[in-house]
């Protein structure tokens, strides 16, 4: 694959209720990414946004974000999945050879809409939606139980992931304040109240308001813009069937396939040995284990045995991951940004030593129906 570089990034401070509004947040993120790269609005040739009409409470919601997203009289389009999927669209725009700088931004403000009601609109209207037994809350419970029962994993093992990520979040100033727990114990996670049994409240990534943005450029331009480009050397994406009753929820076939595709592109033969740091979009603590196993970082059911702490063998979510704040449509894009920070040595307070190769993922759908995975490498 031709080299495409990530040349700038910005993430707004995640907040439970960002009273300064959606448009200012989008502007702050996009303008922030341009400033980060020392560029101007006139340098932007294409803009890809990621929001969701239901979450924004209006149809064709990107019609309202033209000016603040840097797309005034520009080539603009929208992806209604995760910001990590918008980055794929942006990557393809660059690879088409027609563009020199792509802005990708994504995010939403769940403080002003009923998120779980909006998620219900994902379900089959002719069968599942009228009774609403299938929804994003119950789906998390099914997924965790399927994983635990298939491999004999305990709730305590899964609570350890929540402890690790929330402790990591406490070291990351741009994570959600309410998600930061510097001294959390597995017992506190297990006793934090039932969300959807066996999932407890602290195993759930907390919803919050947030927007993030990255800039992509082809190799030649990237090297002119920055002396610290991060290269996208592989990308893979895959989608599973819709009905949860058709799927094996104890694993993630879509992540497995996405991983194979991305690793092949990047020439990675043994991901466990070759990758220095991983940022995975875990909506629930158990998903981090399911994903790391699907990616071949651990044997099935053995994810908890990985040494995934910041100074461990393979640090996973040193930023705190989605458990450190989950702003819908921005979460996966923030994983990419966090991987970029690690590769540029800019993850102050949670820097992984000598990180040269990273992976970052985004997801969408019930029980992560669709996953996208990036392989990123630092150095020019």
């Amino acid at each position: 694959m031709e080299k495409v570089g990530i040349v700038g990034y910005y993430q707004v401070q995640l907040q439970s209720e960002a009273n300064y509004g959606r448009y200012e947040m989008i502007f702050e993120a996009v303008r922030g990414a341009l400033d980060n790269a020392g560029l101007k609005k006139k340098d932007v040739t294409t803009v890809i946004s990621c929001t969701n009409d239901y979450y924004d409470g209006r149809t064709i919601s990107n019609a309202f974000s033209v000016e603040v997203g840097g797309a005034y009289l520009a080539d603009e389009s929208k992806v209604e999945m995760d910001g990590a999927h918008a980055a794929l669209y942006g990557l393809m725009r660059i690879l088409s050879g027609n563009h020199k700088l792509a802005v990708i931004w994504g995010g939403s403000t769940p403080s002003c809409y009923p998120y779980h009601s909006a998620r219900l609109f994902e379900t089959d209207p002719t069968w599942e939606r009228p009774n609403a037994f299938v929804n994003d809350i119950t789906a998390g419970g099914f997924q965790m139980r399927a994983y635990m029962e298939k491999y004999g994993v305990s709730a305590e093992d899964i609570a350890k992931v929540a402890v690790n990520n929330r402790k990591n979040a406490a070291k990351n100033p741009s994570s959600l304040k309410e998600a930061q727990y510097p001294n959390l114990t597995t017992r506190e996670v297990l006793e934090s109240g039932i969300y959807a049994d066996p999932v407890t409240e602290l195993m759930v990534s907390p919803l919050c308001d947030g927007v993030a943005a990255i800039l992509l450029a082809p190799e030649k331009q990237a090297l002119k813009i920055t002396d610290k480009p991060v290269w996208i050397t592989g990308v893979g994406y895959n989608q599973e069937t819709y009905y949860l009753g058709d799927r094996d929820l104890s694993t993630s076939k879509s992540m497995e396939s996405a991983g194979k595709m991305a690793f092949k592109a990047a020439g990675i033969k043994n991901p466990k040995d070759e990758i220095d740091v991983a940022e995975l979009s875990e909506v629930f603590a158990h998903e981090e284990l399911i994903f790391s196993e699907a990616l071949g970082l651990a044997e099935k059911g053995q994810g908890v045995k990985l040494n995934y702490e910041i100074n461990g063998d393979l640090p996973i979510n040193p930023s705190g991951g989605a458990l450190g704040g989950n702003p819908p449509c921005a979460t996966g894009l923030i994983r990419i940004i966090e991987a970029v920070k690690q590769l540029r040595g800019e993850a102050n307070g949670y820097q992984v030593k000598d990180a040269k190769k990273a992976i970052a993922s985004g997801q969408i759908g019930m029980c992560a129906q669709n996953n996208i995975l990036y392989v990123l490498e630092g150095g020019n």
Binding site: N19, G57, P114, H116, S117, L120, P125, T126, W127, E128, P130, N131, A132, F133, V134, N135, I137, T138, G140, G141, F142, R145, A146, E149, G193, I194, Y195, A196, D197, P198, V199, T241, Y243, L244, G245, D246, L249
Partner: protein, 153 residues
């Protein structure tokens, strides 16, 4: 600082209720509910039995003909998975004192699982692998509300 002004958009002005036609396959499925009967259909290629019936088998990428391959199914099945939640779908601000048990049930003779609530059961009695049966409503109308829930047998 003054209090933030909040506008509740569309309140009292606009409603957007969708009237989805369930389609020919689901019409037949719900017609059978009126007789308290469950039907599915079978992919002629891989042999998987779907309940509710499907027009297309995604794995094989073939249409299951409307007039063929219907399978009469019992209203019993195996509980493959379950969860218990105190939340209403659209409200995480209040926890219900009586949590709802929701299960994934594989109807006997089918290859997929459907998701429905379990009734008349204490949360601690729920176990994966247990046999369950549909509790039909007294006067079925031919829609999803005809299944009151699954009970342990």
């Amino acid at each position: 600082m003054s209090e933030n002004k909040v506008i509740v958009a569309n309140k009292g002005m606009v409603r957007a209720d969708f009237n989805f036609w369930v389609g020919r396959y689901m019409d037949k499925f719900y017609d059978n509910f009126e007789k308290k009967k469950l039907v599915g259909n079978k992919c002629q290629k891989c042999g998987n039995v779907f309940v509710p019936p499907r027009k297309v088998c995604g794995k094989c990428n073939v249409v299951i003909p409307l007039e063929e391959n219907w399978v009469d199914l019992p209203d019993t099945g195996i509980l493959k998975n379950y969860t218990i939640t105190p939340y209403r779908v659209n409200d995480r601000t209040s926890r219900k004192t009586k949590p709802q048990v929701v299960g994934m049930v594989q109807i006997d003779g089918s290859n997929t699982a459907i998701i429905y609530r379990l009734i008349n059961i204490k949360p601690e009695e729920v176990k994966t692998g247990m046999k369950v049966k549909i509790e039909w409503s007294e006067k079925p109308k031919g829609d999803p509300s005809d299944i009151k829930g699954f009970v342990k047998i």
